[in-house]
Structures are given as C-alpha cells and as structure tokens.
C-alpha cells in the first residue's frame, strides 16, 4: 500500500483567496486523483492528474477554479481558487485505481469564511 501525506491538514481561509494543497506519495505512481467531500456528503472526484499531461476534470469542475499540478510521479498540488463558503470541504488525494483499490491521504479540511 502507498503512504500518502497532505499539507495542510486543515485551514481557515477568507472568501476570495486561494489555497494550494500538496499531496506527497512515498512511491512513484502513474495516476493521482483529487476528491472533494462536502460536509455530510460522499466523495466526488474532481480530477485525475497524470504526470506530464493536463489533468482530466470531471463534470462540474473546471481548471480555472481547481488548477492542478503534477510535476513528478510522487507529488501533486490542487489549488482552490477564488474561494467561497461553498468550497468548505475535505479535499482528499488518492492513488491507485484500475482493477485495484485506491489509497487515500488523510485529507485537508478547508473552511472558507
């Protein structure tokens, strides 16, 4: 299994600002995923990040709002831009997939005031 760390673990931000979340994996992986878990809700996939190519966004999520970087095979960042209170969620990084289980980071709990 992969060990995944995320920074920050939590943050409180003001409306209109941006926050960049970092995800570090202890092994090289092809695909990394970013999920959002709104309060009391299930997980929703934001995008898939492959190293060396543009991230693939799911319906309802756009690059301008959630830009993603994937500079190498062990690291990715997700930025939440121009935040509003509706962006208050837990953001989770994940690796794995295909026919196997995915592993998840501990999450970043974001509160937007």
């Amino acid at each position: 299994s992969a060990v995944i760390s995320q920074k920050p673990s939590r943050d409180i931000c003001q409306r209109g600002t941006s926050l960049t979340i970092q995800c570090q994996v202890d092994s090289q992986v092809t695909m990394m995923f970013w999920y959002r878990q709104q309060p009391g809700q299930s997980l929703t996939l934001i995008a898939t990040a492959n190293q060396g190519s543009e991230a693939t966004y799911e319906s309802g999520f756009v690059i301008d709002k959630f830009p993603i970087s994937r500079p190498n095979l062990t690291f990715s960042t997700l930025t939440v831009s121009n935040m509003s209170p509706e962006d208050s969620s837990i953001y989770l990084c994940s690796v794995g997939g295909g026919y196997n289980e995915q592993f998840f980071g501990p999450g970043t709990r974001l509160t937007v005031l």
């Binding site: 995944i4 809700q41 299930s42 997980l43 295909g98 289980e101 998840f104 501990p106 709990r109």
Partner: protein, 117 residues
C-alpha cells in the same frame, strides 16, 4: 453509468452483536467492489474488495463482505461488533468500459455505524 446505493444513513448495533451495512450497485459490466471506512478527522481506509472468485471476501479488522450477483449487493458484515468499529463506511464500485479500461471509482452516500457499549 455505474452507481452505488447505501440505503441506510445510520446503523446502530450493540457491542458484541453482528453488524451488517448494506450496499447495492449498478454497473453495465463486471463489478469491482470496495469497502472503505472513515474515522473522524481521518482519510479513507481500505477494508476489502471483490474482484472475482469467492463471493465471501474477508478484509481488515474482522470485516467481511458477501457478493451477491443476482441481488447486485455487496453487504459488509462483522460477526461481533466493537465500539471502536463506530465510523463512517463507504461502498464503492467501478467497472470496465468498452476499451477494457476501468472506470473511475464511484462511492455510495455512506453509512454511519454506531456501536453501543
């Protein structure tokens, strides 16, 4: 399109009693099914998976799940619940698309399990 349903938002069980957390799924091909657990202020932890083979799958912490193709169900079970099992449980599914690749993981809405001492 694939989907997962967890019909119970909340399940309460007494410590020492058996527990069941229900999950049904809908896919167009063969399902790959997963259970995850989320403790407060923690990420998701993988419990078990069904890919193929025996319908009864054993996983971490004494949990098991039974795959039932005719009922399209994958219920999570444990013979004797512990207070420490209290957490949020998610069922998830993916299947193959026509190209032979696996779809993205789709999660159910989650079931909050509370084990009462």
């Amino acid at each position: 399109a694939q989907s997962v349903a967890q019909p119970e938002d909340q399940v309460n069980v007494a410590e020492g009693n058996p527990l069941t957390v229900k999950c049904t799924y809908s896919v167009s091909g063969n399902p790959y099914l997963f259970w995850y657990v989320q403790y407060p202020n923690r990420g998701l932890q993988f419990l078990l998976k069904y890919i193929t083979g025996d319908n009864l799958v054993k996983g971490s912490y004494g949990f098991e799940a039974e795959f039932n193709k005719s009922q399209t169900s994958f219920h999570l079970k444990k013979p004797s619940a512990l207070v420490s099992d209290s957490a949020l449980y998610f069922c998830a599914v993916r299947d193959l698309i026509s190209s032979g690749s696996a779809r993205q993981l789709t999660f159910g809405s989650g079931t909050q399990l509370t084990v009462l001492p």
